[in-house]
């Protein structure tokens, strides 16, 4: 009998006051009892709509049914048959916009907590002392190169390896995981989790070469010369955008990428690491997306007294930065904002914010973090012939990741510009399918 409770089982979390002072994970995860209870809320619909909302087509009702039975190992098998990174997805996917948004239980009450259940199953497996040996499929002899070890590249690698391909990932950083390690903070996605997922892939036979910048250390052409038959580009959107306002190069102005990389990848928050970071007092974060929230939360955990979010329509602040002010010594002293109001509706009915003349005011801060988005890195663009690019610098590729150049596939933020982890994973999956079809067509 289904559990007809209207609400999800709540997620245990760290106390808000306590967690604002540490980098430990906020959400603590379900107990086995809570997971089984939650799984019983699933009605096991004959035509499960949740699956249609998942970019990597996780067999959701099937795995949930196994959780309800208490057979967590079987649930793990089902999830990983289509998803190489369940512990990551269970944490950072916007399920409320994807699988859970389609759940019938969500019509009256809350949807089934699919994301929390996925996380529970992945964590259960990870914490098991004795794991079944990972199956490493036999190689079919076809070598595939993957550029970037972020969500798109890892997913593509996992899927291709499962099909028997000999896969090598080239990663520019010393650590693998791309945005999962340099971008998303520890308290939202512990790096140990990412490392464990990557170790799983390596146990399956995926090779990773770190400190290899495709476009610098070697070009796409050289990868083909070296015997790779296809290349998947999942190099992400790493280039930070700036506001181009006066004062942007003052001391104490960071791109969100710099702050997050220093803290997440280079572990500036830990005393045993050498990476320097300044003590923050009052911090203005410019931007209102996921990255801006991550930056704000990081700043708070680094000891900032106040963190302000500017330029966020979501926050109805309707303030736009026009300049950053500094003192004699070149350090930031404040950010100048202009108040905005919603103008007349345009033809689409959208009321565009317009600046209120003479409403400029200065918010006193010592640090400004710019988090208004990123664009694709030009390293591949500048060194690879035969690809086409969008105005914003993204690689032009179809839904299957097929680009203008034979044998070269692309997906994730390198194609779309900054988006989400799960969309990049979906693109990695599509790319793997296209590469498989391409190699088979060559035979």
């Amino acid at each position: 009998m289904a559990n007809m409770k209207m609400e999800k089982n709540p997620m245990p979390e760290q106390d808000p006051i306590v967690r604002a002072g540490n980098f430990d994970e906020v959400a603590l995860g379900y107990s086995a009892e809570a997971a089984i209870d939650e799984a019983k809320r699933c009605l096991n619909c004959r035509e499960p709509r949740c699956r249609t909302g998942c970019p990597v087509s996780v067999r959701i009702p099937e795995f949930i049914a196994k959780v309800a039975e208490g057979d967590f190992d079987a649930a793990y098998e089902i999830i990983t048959s289509t998803n190489s990174l369940p512990a990551v997805c269970g944490r950072v996917c916007p399920q409320e916009k994807q699988c859970e948004s389609k759940c019938v239980r969500g019509i009256k009450g809350e949807s089934v907590a699919i994301g929390r259940l996925e996380r529970f199953v992945a964590d259960y497996h990870m914490n098991k002392k004795k794991k079944a040996a990972v199956k490493a499929p036999e190689s079919n002899g076809h070598r595939i190169a993957i550029v970037g070890s972020g969500p798109a590249g890892l997913t593509c690698a996992g899927d291709l390896r499962k099909l028997g391909y000999d896969v090598t990932i080239f990663e520019a950083f010393h650590k693998s995981g791309g945005v999962l390690v340099y971008g998303i903070p520890q308290f939202r996605l512990p790096k140990e989790i990412v490392a464990a997922e990557i170790e799983n892939l390596q146990a399956m036979g995926v090779k990773i070469v770190n400190n290899a910048i495709v476009g610098k250390s070697e070009t796409v052409d050289e990868l083909f010369e070296d015997g790779f038959e296809a290349v998947f580009i999942g190099s992400g959107a790493g280039l930070p955008q700036f506001l181009h306002i006066p004062g942007e190069n003052l001391l104490g102005v960071y791109s969100a990428n710099e702050l997050l990389t220093r803290v997440n990848l280079m572990k500036a928050y830990r005393d045993d690491y050498d990476t320097p970071i300044k003590r923050f007092g009052r911090v203005a974060v410019v931007g209102a997306g996921n990255v801006a929230m991550d930056a704000a939360r990081v700043a708070k955990r680094l000891g900032a007294e106040h963190v302000f979010i500017c330029y966020g329509i979501e926050f109805n602040l309707l303030n736009n930065p026009v300049a950053i002010h500094g003192g004699e010594d070149g350090h930031v002293t404040g950010i100048e904002l202009v108040r905005q109001e919603l103008g007349e509706p345009d033809e689409k009915g959208r009321r565009k914010p317009v600046a209120v003349e003479g409403s400029n005011w200065i918010l006193d801060v010592d640090t400004v973090v710019i988090a208004i988005g990123t664009s694709p890195n030009p390293l591949i663009r500048n060194t690879t012939e035969g690809l086409t690019f969008t105005k914003k610098g993204g690689i032009v590729a179809d839904e299957g990741g097929v680009t203008a150049r034979e044998g070269v596939f692309a997906g994730g933020d390198a194609v779309t510009g900054s988006a989400t982890v799960i969309l990049a994973m979906g693109a990695g999956k599509a790319g793997a399918k296209s590469i498989d079809a391409y190699i088979k067509s060559k035979k």
């Binding site: 520019a172 910048i213 610098k216 220093r262 280079m266």
Partner: protein, 288 residues
Amino acid sequence: MYKVVTKRFLNDAKTICLFEIEAPLIARHAQAGQFVIFRLDEQGERVPVSVAGYDREKGTVTVMVQAAGRTTKMLHTVAEGDYITDIVGPLGKATEMEGLRKVCVVGGGVGCAIAYPIAKEMHEKGIEVTFIAGFRSADIVILKEELKAASDKLVMCTDDGTYGEKGFTTVFLKNEIEANIAEGKPQFDRVIAIGPDIMMKFLADVTRPYGIKTIISLDPIMVDGTGMCGGCRVIVGGETKFACVDGPDFDAHEVDFDSLLKRAAFYKDEQDAAAQHICNMTGGKRNG
């Protein structure tokens, strides 16, 4: 892990040390003017250093590093045959040499190590090279023989006169430019200046009135070296550039030195504090 195949101090004071490191991926494409980023160990910083040489066949890259902060001091204690955790590159653009006929290369201190491969490559290409090498004093002078071999004319100078001529590089650069005029010789079509930011600022002032295009190599604070962090922003010709991908070479007459000097000192307090806590007993490795 990357093996240090050769380690050699380049001067009596042991302030600058050469490391030849096995890194085939870097050796394959490295060019003069580019840089690499190394990391000593798991807790270490990513530190950019210029490429001082490479051997494509052996698959090695050479860097010459001055012990300045914590990481570089620790690097100096790494022994030949030992390994460092990471090195990545080549990063940045190579120094432009196309179409040049007569160049004056000016190096200040460890800047000579960066300028050396540029001068060497130009010299090999048949470009006439005058090299002005400035040091604080005799005990830190490096590459005496190498610089001679890489140039048509070499001027060595020290601030205190303990080796070579006495005086600053700015004076000798001006002398060379004036001599070209006085003797009716062709003027330098490029000056390449590499050294402390403040030296490059003054060298830019020397060449400006003569209208000689002057290129400097910058090494601002950076994290990734691939354009991701934006920490290495410099203002050039009123525009913001990233030294890691747009540089490291820039037109000295366009660079905003005021902002450059301030940004370079941003973490000075933290660096000074960190540099005081290094254990020489552990050979560059940490305890535990």
